[in-house]
């Protein structure tokens, strides 16, 4: 089922939770709404569900305007962050709930309800827990029951609010893969909210990155990572080093030079941000050309197979973070205080366009 969100706005008092959001979700996709807290991602999800009303804008489902539909009529499955299981009902009755509250005319008979619920419990691999109460289940089990309950009413759209937020790391990882497989099997258009970029990258077909009530970028996980549309997206998707300055031809003057290795058609003296991810540096003992930045090693910490390094560059306060494989670092045979040379392999440059204050990004 395809969804089109048109210019949706929502404020709570003076706070603009959503500030003109436009988005299309093709049928059958698994989409992640990714953003920091307060970015409006949960509000958008709740508006899709009909739990919250947009101040203006429209929601079209298969081309039909559903903006005014009551939550009851929308046929969405909503999985709450803290599951919201009915604690006075058994697991079986929790899953059966949506079927039992159907209007008499469309309410399925007992046998059907029983077989449907059993089927769903099998789907989430918890059919042996039907007689228990939510209080007797672990967090991961509750999460799966919440999903089964939402699926019972055969929703046209599945919405999940921070589905793995309340779980510990190991269970979270398992459930991510499981959700992905389940989505592939069922093919229901699904939208989930997360603040964890790794989770969004790993599970979704497409990622929608929100910031301060606006969409920063929409794309596949690879697209948003490799070609971030804005500095925010780049910074949000992982550790990075920021160099600010002005572009002179192909060179960004930022304390010391960070040379852009590809041709870029940029005017002189434009304000620009250049980002280099920690693993995108070459570290060597000698400078083999102009591209090398002299740096002093100040800090090194081994974590598993990688070594996290911090370098000081003359004229720059912030240390430069660099990650190297342990074997490569060992091969250098240096310690703290060593004078080395850094060469960025890949620089992400954003230039501020003076006209509409948008960011023009360019990879290199």
């Amino acid at each position: 089922m395809s969804i089109k969100i048109e210019n949706v706005r929502k404020s709570f008092g003076n706070f603009h939770a959503l500030d003109g959001v436009n988005l299309e979700i093709p049928s059958g996709e698994l989409v992640a709404l990714l953003g920091p807290s307060g970015s409006g991602k949960t509000t958008l999800l709740r508006i899709l569900a009909g739990l919250e009303a947009a101040d203006s804008g429209r929601i079209l489902v298969e081309g039909r305007d559903t903006t005014e539909d009551h939550v009851r009529e929308r046929q969405v499955g909503f999985v709450f962050q803290h599951y919201a299981l009915f604690r006075h009902l058994t697991i079986f009755e929790n899953v059966a709930y949506g079927l039992r509250v159907k209007p008499r005319a469309t309410r399925p008979d007992k046998d059907y309800i029983h077989s449907r619920v059993t089927e769903l419990l099998k789907l989430v691999q918890l059919d042996w827990l039907g007689d228990r109460y939510p209080a007797q289940l672990s967090g991961g089990q509750r999460q799966r029951i919440a999903l089964a309950r939402a699926l019972a009413v055969e929703p046209r759209l599945l919405l999940l609010d921070e589905p793995f937020g309340a779980l510990d790391a190991k269970v979270r990882l398992e459930l991510r893969h499981w959700l992905r497989r389940l989505h592939d099997d069922l093919g229901i258009t699904s939208v989930f909210v997360t603040h964890d970029q790794e989770e969004a990258m790993e599970v979704s077909d497409r990622v929608v990155i929100l910031n301060a009530g606006q969409i920063e970028q929409v794309g596949t996980p690879e697209e948003v990572y490799d070609a971030p549309a804005t500095p925010f997206v780049h910074e949000f998707l992982g550790l990075t080093n920021l160099f600010t300055g002005h572009l002179r031809q192909e060179v960004l003057a930022a304390g010391r030079n960070v040379k852009v290795t590809e041709e870029t058609a940029l005017d002189d003296k434009q304000g620009a941000h250049a980002y280099v991810r920690p693993y995108d540096f070459e570290v060597s003992l000698q400078a083999d050309g102009e591209d090398y930045i002299p740096a002093e090693l100040r800090f090194a910490q081994t974590i598993g197979n990688i070594v996290r390094l911090q370098f000081i560059i003359p004229g720059r306060e912030e240390p430069v973070r660099v990650e190297l494989e342990k074997t490569k670092f060992r091969a250098l045979r240096v310690g703290i205080g060593a004078k080395l040379f850094l060469k960025p392999r890949h620089v992400q440059i954003f230039v501020k366009d003076r006209k509409d204050a948008a960011w023009a990004g360019t990879g290199s």
Binding site: Q75, L85, F86, V101
Partner: protein, 277 residues
Amino acid sequence: MPFSFKKRSVLPGFGLTFGYTLFYLSLIVLIPIGALFLKSSTLTGSEFWATVTAPRVLASYRITFGAAFIAAFFNLFAGLLIAWVLARYEFKGKSILDALVDLPFALPTAVAGIALTTVFSVNGWLGKPLNALGIHVSYTPIGIIVAMIFISLPFMVRTVQPVLEDLEKELEEASATLGATRLQTFRRVILPVLTPSLFTGFALGFARALGEYGSIVFIAGNMPMKTEITPLLIITKLEQYQYAEATAIAAVTLIISFVLLLFINWVQWHNRRKYSL
């Protein structure tokens, strides 16, 4: 270790405070209550039985329990409604309304008694219109029920209100996304969560109404066999120096109160154990 039943702790003062608690509890509560049961045991079994099942005593049980039950039942609805409105809606004057709910806790029962009697008397603010409708409140069992409603209303409101306030909004939202109407959500999601507190509020209010004296004696008329409540009968026996009989009736009342207290504790314990997440 002076108390082997206690877990180790670095904090001092357990012996002193625990000892004093037991001492004071025994002196003020346990010994006096014990004296009551001791005294009632001076009657033989058949004497005791004859006393506590005398027609006038039975009539007082009937009127007291009957009125207390009706009052608690009324408050089940009135209390739930008031708790709902206070917990869920914002409106002008809400905080005054909220504070007023505790009036029966704060207003001395004798004051409540004469006030209710006056309000519901033949020429009273509410008594006059009710009288015109043929409903006589003062000096009838209805008067007893009215006084008991007054005295036990806050128990219901204050038991249900916090549960309603703590009820996660997500439960109702989940129910709505699953297609339930508002009424279905209330019946299937909210009411079951409230049930233990409704039970508790009912039992607390009922127990309070059973023992109530001050607010009832003025409005009840106190006619033996008709509008004489059990606490008043105990006082009457006492004034006639029939100590053993007064004590026997008191013992029966007390045992019923204890059973109610245990029931309330059991409901709360059971509920916590089974459903709390």
